[in-house]
Every structure is written in C-alpha cells, then in structure tokens.
C-alpha cells in the first residue's frame, strides 16, 4: 500500500459512490444433460440451460483458479482428456469468456467451434469419451463483504484482502451483469474515480495464463501505479 505521505491528486479524490466488495457462493446442481461422444456434447450444448454453459466456462475458472496453465473450460478439457481430440480442445480452449457479455453469445461461439471441428472431421463426433460429460449448473447467492472503498487506498486494500471468489465475482463474472466488455473494478475506476487509463489497463490482465492470486497481484500493481 502507498505511504500516506504520497498524497497525490488521485489519492485525494472522493468518488460519488463507494466501491462495495461483494462475493458470490455457488451450489452445484446436476442437470439432466450428459454426453458420451462429442456429437452428444454438441447436442447438449445447444439445449442445456444457460446456467450450465456459465458453470462450465466462467465458473470452472473460479473452481480451478489455482492453475496457471492447461485449463480454460470444461468442454476443452473433456475434448482433450476424455476424447483425445487436441485440435478441437485447442479451439475450444481459445474461446475467451471475456469476449462475451452474454451467455447466449458464448454458447453460440462454442457451438460454432464444435460444428466446424466435427464438419472437418466427422469421425471425431462418434468417438466415445473415456468418461461421460455431465452438465452441471449452479445456484448462486451474492454475499456482501465487510470491505468498502471510498478512496483509491481503500480500494487497493480491499483488493488485497477480499477472497479470490470476490475477485472472480467483480473481475470475471461482472461482464454478464454489466453487459459491457469490462469489469466492476474498471467501471468504478473509470466512472467514479476518473482513472480511465487504469481502468483500461485492468482489462488487459490475462486470466488464462495466471492463477487468480496472480491476477489479484497484477490488479493491485496496476491500481498502485495510478498513485505514483
């Protein structure tokens, strides 16, 4: 945290509204959809509820936040680990959830990737996976934390101290709520603190090549830079 002596103009700014750190807790449900083959996976992907697509993309990143590489979404993981289809797995893994502001668009993109792959290699569609893929979904409860920021210092302190679930809630899931290619932190920094460059810099933090703890550190560094 910056020292109190470094009272820059930024540090003195008071936002019109504080930033309230929340988090979310999820309870996993097992849905009726399952797949033994890639063709079945594609069919189920078209029909399953949106919260199931959310679970296997956005949410799985939170569940596996400690992995630095090799994990993007459950569909890609299953295509590789159970069906041994590395090309399709790569294509699915390259679908970045941060490019989507709705689950419907994300689902459409995943379906397109699978349709293209199975059109190019129809044989792959019938291959039976080593394990079945079960579509899950989650019931979500949003939980307030005790952290609230009315200055940039308090914001940085909150970032350091909240749970990784809270970081995921504000930084990754937020775009589905905001319907913007952004996140709660950037929105507040831009709209309430006038720190547009800092807000933009946060959107360049890579969530797929770092653990969520690394992501937190990078966010804190970007925010601290605004103070110097």
């Amino acid at each position: 945290m910056g020292t109190p002596e470094v009272t820059t103009a930024v540090a003195k700014r008071t936002p019109p509204k504080p930033f309230y750190f929340n988090t979310s807790a999820h309870l996993l449900r097992i849905t009726e959809y399952a797949a033994n083959t890639l063709s079945e996976l594609l069919d189920a992907l078209r029909q399953c509820p949106e919260d199931s697509v959310f679970q296997h993309t956005f949410r799985t990143l939170q569940e596996h936040h400690f992995l630095r590489e090799g994990f993007s979404n459950d569909f890609a993981h299953w295509a590789l680990a159970s069906c041994n289809e590395p090309k399709l797995a790569e294509a699915l893994a390259s679908v970045d959830v941060r490019e989507f502001t709705s689950v419907a668009e994300l689902r459409q993109r995943l379906v397109e990737v699978m349709e293209n792959a199975l059109r190019d290699d129809p044989r792959a569609g019938g291959k039976i996976g080593e394990e079945r893929f079960y579509f899950c979904a989650s019931d979500i409860v949003v939980i307030p934390t005790t952290f609230k920021a009315q200055t940039i210092y308090e914001f940085a302190e909150g970032l350091r101290r909240v749970s990784l679930h809270s970081i995921h809630h504000h930084f990754i899931e937020a775009r589905l709520r905001l319907k913007l290619m952004s996140n709660d932190f950037s929105q507040w920094l831009h709209e309430d603190m006038g720190l547009t460059e800092t807000a933009r810099a946060l959107n360049r933090v890579d969530i797929y090549t770092a653990t969520l703890e690394d992501v937190r550190r990078q966010i804190v560094r970007v925010v601290e830079r605004a103070l110097t």
Binding site: L27, R29, E63, H64, H65, E131
Partner: protein, 446 residues
C-alpha cells in the same frame, strides 16, 4: 473391533540388511509394534470454526457467517444409520458442531433396527452398487417396518430434514404438509443399481425436495433437483493435521521405512477393488529403473475374512521383497497414516472401483504427487497432469511412478495444485457453506 496384533508381514526380513553396497543407506531397523497399535487414543475435541482461519482465510469464515445470518432461526435435522464408524458418521461428527456454532441448530438422529433390518439394508447397499440381489416381499416388509417404528419414535419439527443414504429413506412418509424441506443425501454410487432395489426405493426418493450426490457420475435421473456435494476432509483431524517432522520420522522408524530413499504409499483396505496386488506389480516394474520402497498401509484384514485372503495375496505378490512394507493397521491409527502419507514421495491409489476416494483427497491435501485409477470420484479430484496423474493399468501406473520420481519439479507442482484443489473444493468448510446455501435456497422457495 479387537485390536489386531501388529503382524507386519511380507516384506520380511524387516531387520536391517547386513551387507549393503557402499553408499546405499542401510534400512532402519524396525523396533517392534508402536504403542498406538494396541490402544485406541482418547477422542479429541472437535475444532471451532475460527480454528480453520489459518487454512481457509478470514474471508471464507466471513462468508459462512453471512450465509448463516441469512438462515438465522432455521434448524436442521440429520438422520443416518450409525453413530460411529464409517465415513458418514465421521463427517457428521464434525459438521453438526460447526453448523451449531454458526447458530444453525442441527439435531443428529440415528435410526434403530434389529439385525434383520441391517442385513436387509446391507444387501440393499450392495445391490445399489450393482450386485445381484433378489428383492423379496419379506425384505421389503422388514425395511418398511423398521422405518415405520423409527418414524413413530422421531419428531420432525425442523426446517430441513436430511436423510442420509437408503436405510432411513422411508422416513419421508413422516413428512407433513408444511414448510419443512426434506433432502436425501446419497453417499453411494447409484450409477449402476440393481433395478429391483432401485425400483423399490425410487418412489420414496422422489418425494424429497432435493437429492444430493457425491459425484456427477453417481447420480440417477430423478424428478427432484439433484445437487452435488463433494465428500470432504477435515484438515484439523488426526488424519490430516500438520505434524512435526520428528513424529513423521518416529513413525517411519517404527515401521522400518527409510526416508532417505523414495517412498511410494497406498493407503487402503486390503480389498481387491483397491488393487493392492496391481500396486505391487507396478512397483516391481518401476523399481527396475528407479530406486524406491513401497508402503501398503491398510486395515480390514483382521475383521474381514476376504481382507485376510487379499492380504495373503499381496504378501505372495511381494515375495519377501524387503522394499515392500505391508502394514495391517487398526482403525485408530489416523496419526500414523497421516505420518506415512506425509513421508511419501508419491501416493498411489490404483483402485479398480472406488467411491469418492477420500484417501486421494488426503494425499492431495498433503501436497503429495498422486497417481490414481480413473474410477469413481477420483477424476473429480485428480485432473490428469494438473493435480495428479490418472492411470488405467499396471503398466501405466509403473510408467507414472518412474516419470514422477525422475521429474521431481513437475511432481512438486502437481502436489501444490492438488492441495489448492482440495482447499477450494474438498474441505469441511466448503461443505458447511454448501449446507448453508442449500438451506437458504430451499427455504426461500417456500
């Protein structure tokens, strides 16, 4: 169970090798049976929620307290079939006090029944795992009669009633019209049940407001919502708590395990489904290329006739290899198991069929690089090449032993990832959160 005599077999001679090649460490001499084998230790008081702060962080505890405030005034009742022994009772012993501590009073009841009832429910249990079984009208009557007696004896005034496993499932008939929610918590694998027994139980199960399974692959299609609650371990239990290295060393010395050389360990009952003979075969294949010892630490050989047969098969497969240490431990040796897991270079769980596989969870939590069969709930825990290695054969297991022993940095990263996976998903605090969430979600549905 009577304490078993500490007959550590196979692998004999256990005494120090008298002539070792220069530079090869001498095996520590076994010093006889540890005291813990003979006497069960005094029970330890369960921990308080705050004791988990250093493990899961204050933010997690705050989440639990917030969720608990959201269901303030609500109460729960858990009903199962045994107060001691078995994973369900062990879990409830820890869970119930923690729920009480966050002011969600939780009452725990155990159903009663005669030998005939428990014989029927044991047969049901095996049949639901896929065994052949002819369901008779008499067996159904016994099941329903004892459930009826328990229904008369118990009062269900709580906001949520949780029935564990099939034995008390017919208690659902006690359900009154009202706001109480009834939940069936199934701890067994229902992926391939005997159709007669499942056909008999299913109408009861579908009367519950929700069902809970331990893995996606264990569930059945049902008309009620199905939730996924992973089984969990308690990081502060004797089996999992941090240990002083001096204690780990002492246990290794007592069992004749040489910590200066790589140690592979499988902890499990002497049961063919755990494939201990396959582990010995994989070890022997791997040992042609890498120096290592194998510890097979289990139990069940003294009170289970089949366990004794399997133990003998393992001893024969070991063929007096001094680097194979076979330990038939009584059930109260949690600290010793903990120490052996912590001393291990690699942990193996080469099961052919498995429930959730909590021994895998324990190994991952202790940051042990783990090689495990891709069965049951193990793939939920071992994400191949990320949190451990999944194998399908003796040869595959042998290869992964060689690979991990010769790539210690990769093995260490698996251990780190595995431990974080457990912290996120498979600790008791995660299950407290799941119960609080379920209570909130079901009760909010009116």
């Amino acid at each position: 169970m009577e304490p078993v005599s500490p007959q550590v077999e196979a692998g004999t001679p256990r005494a120090a090798e008298t002539s070792t090649p220069q530079g090869v460490p001498t095996r520590p001499e076994r010093r006889g049976a540890p005291r813990s084998w003979e006497t069960p230790p005094e029970p330890v008081a369960p921990p308080h929620l705050q004791d988990y702060q250093s493990i899961v962080g204050e933010a997690m505890l705050e989440e639990l307290r917030f969720l608990a405030r959201g269901v303030k005034g609500k109460t729960m009742r858990m009903v199962n079939s045994t107060a001691v022994g078995g994973g369900v009772a062990e879990m409830l012993n820890r869970l119930v006090p923690l729920l009480g501590e966050v002011e969600v009073p939780t009452h725990w009841d155990v159903i009663t029944g005669g030998n005939d009832f428990f014989e029927v429910t044991k047969a049901f249990h095996n049949a639901l795992h896929g065994s052949n079984y002819e369901l008779t009208r008499h067996a159904q009557e016994i099941f329903l009669t004892y459930n009826g007696q328990n229904r008369q004896r118990m009062q269900f005034t709580e906001d949520m009633v949780v029935i564990h496993d099939p034995q008390p499932a017919a208690l659902i008939r006690a359900r009154q019209d009202g706001s109480a929610k009834w939940v069936w918590r199934c701890h067994i694998d229902l992926s391939n049940p005997n159709p007669q027994v499942w056909g008999f139980l299913r109408p009861f199960i579908e009367q519950f407001d929700a069902s809970i399974f331990s893995s996606q692959s264990f569930a059945r299609q049902l008309s009620n919502p199905q939730y996924l609650f992973y089984p969990c371990i308690d990081p502060l239990s004797e089996k999992n708590k941090e240990l002083e290295d001096s204690f780990v060393q002492k246990v290794c010395d007592e069992f004749g395990v040489d910590r200066s050389r790589p140690i592979l360990t499988q902890v499990s009952r002497f049961d063919r489904l755990k494939d201990p003979v396959g582990v010995v075969q994989a070890f022997k294949l791997a040992k042609k290329y890498v120096d290592c010892q194998l510890v097979l630490a289990g139990g069940g050989a003294s009170d289970d006739p089949e366990g004794a047969i399997v133990l003998k098969e393992v001893q024969e497969a070991a063929n007096n290899d001094p680097d194979i240490i076979i330990l038939d431990l009584p059930p109260w040796c949690a600290l010793e198991i903990n120490a052996l897991q912590r001393a291990s270079t690699l942990v193996v769980q080469k099961s052919i069929k498995e429930g959730f596989g909590l021994t895998v969870t324990e190994a991952l939590w202790k940051r042990r690089p783990t090689i495990a069969g891709a069965v049951g709930g193990i793939p939920n825990q071992v994400i191949n090449k990320l949190t451990g290695m999944l194998v399908h054969s003796v040869e595959g297991c042998a290869y992964q032993i060689r690979y991990l022993l010769t790539h210690p940095e990769f093995a260490a990263q698996l251990g780190i990832n595995g431990s974080e996976h457990v912290r996120e998903n498979f600790l008791i605090t995660s299950n407290v959160r799941r119960w609080l969430l379920l209570l909130q979600i079901l009760c909010s549905r009116g």
